[in-house]
Symmetry: C3
């Protein structure tokens, strides 16, 4: 059994879904582990992770839009307002989606459906650098 730890940085430019499937897949491809578990954790609580459809970009637009309506950016709704009107909604959207994804790797390939991609879901308005911990365990 081998284990490898790695960090991938994603620069975000406001709210929306950022596909990082290729970054992860190409890193996996360079490792000496063929089969195993890949555990990805986002080290922030105002952005999150989802597996979503990668075929039609309208899906990504509708997702962002739905979450913005479900969790309004209105200071009067929250006590935690010191970090900006988008911060508390970002924590809630993070709780509604995922902070981590556990994926299976078979013969150096991510097991994903034909139309699935890995997305970082940025919930903050301003630019951010987001860190994704990658932990690959297998043989």
């Amino acid at each position: 059994m081998q284990q490898i730890f790695h960090e991938i940085k994603i620069n975000t430019k406001g709210q929306g879904l950022y596909d990082f499937t290729n970054e992860t897949a190409s890193w996996i491809n360079k490792q000496k582990i063929n089969n195993g578990i890949l555990n990805i954790n986002i080290l922030h609580t105002s952005a999150s992770l989802v597996i979503q459809e990668n075929a039609d970009s309208d899906v990504l637009y509708d997702l962002k839009n739905f979450f913005n309506k479900l969790v309004p950016m209105e200071n009067k709704l929250y006590k935690h307002t010191t970090e900006g009107k988008d911060d508390m909604p970002a924590h809630i959207k993070s709780a509604l989606t995922n902070n981590q994804l556990t994926l299976s790797i078979k013969e150096k390939k991510l097991i994903l459906g034909a139309w699935q991609g890995l997305y970082l879901f940025e919930h903050r308005i301003e630019k951010h650098t987001r860190l994704l911990s990658h932990h690959f365990i297998g043989d």
Copy 2:
């Protein structure tokens, strides 16, 4: 350490929660791994996975009903409408629940609470065949 990959197919007949605990448990029971991690990924983004109460079927009805009210099937709310009025809501419900579950196996048994079952949550109206990737790693 050993690893086994497997796929379980579930035929769904419209929206609702489908218990697949027995399919998974009986497959686990036939493997030569006694203790380990079982990673289950659904290879679709319009159906999802949840661990839920298996005692009262009203819970399953209320879950389906709640998600249908939270994410209405109305084309005017979405840009992505080409695949049917239930498709974009299905992607959103998938983002609100889980695409994957990671479970612990001890002495060939799933570690679950007394009232917990594994469910596929189908969000589409028509019949579908859903694939659940199973990846068992342990010894």
Copy 3:
């Protein structure tokens, strides 16, 4: 490769978020595994798990408050009402968050962001004892 199974009990006193990061971290620190995967499952479906900000307790208040507004405790909305007005909403909140978390351990430390903590999210009004299965696999 080694595997260790363990259970952590958390006594809750009504709805809210309970930080168990220290319990988990101090247990990890006593084990002979240095690097590996920690799989945590809550053995209940009326309480759940989230990774959230641990800096400002207002965030925890706002989270509890948001989920209570999103999923009202009103019997007329649900069929499953025999276990109390807070039970069906608890199952729904559990489906909207997580029943399990998979974490990475590097040199006996949880990989978490600077402001991240592990929380049990209790959705029931009365006192409960909650069991968190811990399964640590690595070397």
